[in-house]
Amino acid sequence: MTTRLHVEPSFAGPLCWFTAGVPAGAVLDPEGLEGFTRHAAELARRGAGDLDRAALDEAIDRLGATIDLEVDRDWIALSATCLERNLDRAVELAAAILRAPQMSEREHGILQRETQHELDDVRDDDASLVERHFQRLCAPGHPYGRTVIGTAGSIARFEAAAAARHHEALWSGERLTVGVAGPISPARADELAGALSAAVAGRPPAPPPALDVPPAPQGRRIYVVDKPQRTQCQLVLGHLAPPYGSDDFVALMPVETAFGGMFSARLMQEIRVKRGWSYGASCRMLRSRAPHWFRISLAPTREVAVDALALTLELYERLAEDGITADEHELAVRHLTGGLPFSIATARQRMRLAVRHELLGLASGYPATLPDRLAALTPQAVREATARWLRPRDLCAVLVATADDVVPALERAGLAPAEIIPWDVY
């Protein structure tokens, strides 16, 4: 058996968690079919073996369990939570979902309609809306720029038979990683992992996803998503960042932390504490297999939205030019290394992290190596990574705001938008 297994025994409570994942996510969506991998995963959960959707839902709920499929750009995972006394049955049901999903035409049609309606929920939430447009616009042509949920047009083109074939191609035993946590022995965990692995055994692995990253766009590109009646502006700006776990990623972690990863970071201090312009202001590098985004986000009130954008750009230019100070470096490294125990405090956290890192292609025990890698960082290495990746003049900024409130001020500030996009068209 080639399945990788991570077990975290813990007798702190009666709950068990298990996850089975493969390193094949939404980047495998066929051209013009954005959201197809998510659709196939969700459809698999709607009836399996001899249980139709209602019967499967009933069987899972009767255990007090949850079994969900999560689709990331780089991976898919089936994750479950259940009481230990119901673990065997929960694993049986999960294995049925992986082995023999019904993928019925009827449920396919229902799911298509549901997903179309989910797009309305995304547009209703300004934070989700700005993310959706930022993903699309940050680096055109980038595989991560395609939406995981889909578009109205792509969803309408899905076909049930193709979804069934996609499911078979995604879930291969050769690439399966399983994690189990809770009050069970390693031997029992091994048996359960065997059942999950057997469910997908013999399927040839899909070809590895193409992760061709296009050249980063040049210049500043500003977009306004025009939504009426906004009192605030949801603002996200950024560009490409290094792949998760790479040397440059680690070298930029103190920069990410010092600039926008703590309450005492520069962004929070300048935007919120000194000026009260936004409830939050932060930055983050997204953790993905290929270069993803370095993104800054804040939500200033409409009256100061353009001032807040201008100040953020100024702060970011200064960061790119001068880097972080020695004091900031020292504080950030202490914060990052001191914070590691919180991400691995429970058995579930340790198991999920191990599975996640496996799916992202990182070496086993990656978190354990992080303190030494951070401690070994020299100011020179951080400066060089900063110079390589931070591009304040070549970035994309997306604002969800009422255009009439912000566009004139943007133009006066020399930040005229390249495009004004109606809020309900994507």
């Binding site: 813990s10 709920d61 009481l83 309606h117 300004d126 939504k227 009130t301 579930r348 994507y426």
Partner: protein
Amino acid sequence: MPWTLDIAHPFSPHAGAPAGAGVTAPRALEVRRHRLHNGLTLLHLADASAPIVSYQTWLRVGSRHELPGQTGMAHLFEHLMFNQTRAHPAGEFDLLIERTGGDTNAATWVDWTYYRDSVPERDLPTVVELEADRLENLVLESAQLESEREVVANERMQRVDDDIDGFADEELMRLAFRVHPYRWPTIGWMEDIRSMSLDQVRRFYRTFYAPNNATLVVVGAVGEAELLELVERRYGHLGPASIPEVAAPEEPAQDGERRARFTKPTAAARLLQGYRAVGQGHPDWPVLSFLAALLTSGPSSRLYRRLVVEREMATHVDCDVAPFRDPALLRIVVHLTREHTAEEAEAEIADVIGRLATAPVSEEELEKVRSVVETDFWAELEGMDGRAEALGHFETTLGDFRRLFDTAAALVRVSAEDVQRAVRSYLVPQRRSTVIIDPDPAALSGDGDDGEVEA
């Protein structure tokens, strides 16, 4: 001895369960409640499974203790607590916590305010010193107030004014309550946030921030002797205050359904229903909580199946009963799909409730919901912070952390008769308030969504 140990209780609702009762007993942990001579309460749950500590300070003050015209005070004050003290300049509190690798935050709701610090075990003394210091020595000046006033105004815009669900929820409470302070939002009305004075803020601090109005909840890798010594050293000199009894006026019985309707820039409608219910200490609260799970927890739950699966009428449906000290609401929230109206959802909900009122729930369905609520109970207690939060909530809201375990035990004892009685007593139109959000046609671009926007 400055400390008195008054309760020691296993960290489980199943202590003493007979062998073979089908209960998987977790590792033996014990919650111990101590009282300091000045009235400070300390809940301690020693757990060395990870080298971290969750340190929470719970104050028995929330938005229910505010006055009209000063709504949002408890929440605004929570922000000010992260500022400056006589011992630590502005910004140092966060800096010292973040230097440890830890994290700090706070929350305010109707019955309480709490402050949370999560730190490595070795840094516990730092946290104890910082928390004791700001309970006693906070510096409150205009500059701090003005800065935080803007932040809170922004927070309100984000969570309420520009958020359909936040707005609808606020309107539901305003509609359902006419005299009780639950009628105003914890974040406060904008005009009150804008007008709060420095004198009012200082008076609030002096009135409610005292050791005898606080409970420390400490969960994690710290021994009892060390903890008691640390806390006594930093808090022992503080004197108790005279905490006023704030008796919220009792909300009169509702005499009929109330309805309100609004439009927002959205493509699909929202429906919120709130049924006047009971406080969390009432024996019917676990029954209503069980009923909420029966209606919307899991895809086979009655309302979810009806509205989302069978009728394809909604994308989301949720039901909960507010965990408040005084009687509040059992709330049903529905996100409609474009093709359906709130009235259609109301008819379906009425039908589902009507069936529950007339036909008893089967033992099989009861057993299913018992498993769901048992899983939910343990899931909330997975981490140190979650455990501390659950203990702090029950100790502060109901005066005894053991009510957490009593409630869990009561949930799995709920019977078919209990459910039917609760439906007939509480889920009736004269106890209902309804808020509907309709799409504002003028807010739609009219361009349609073909999903083919090019980058």
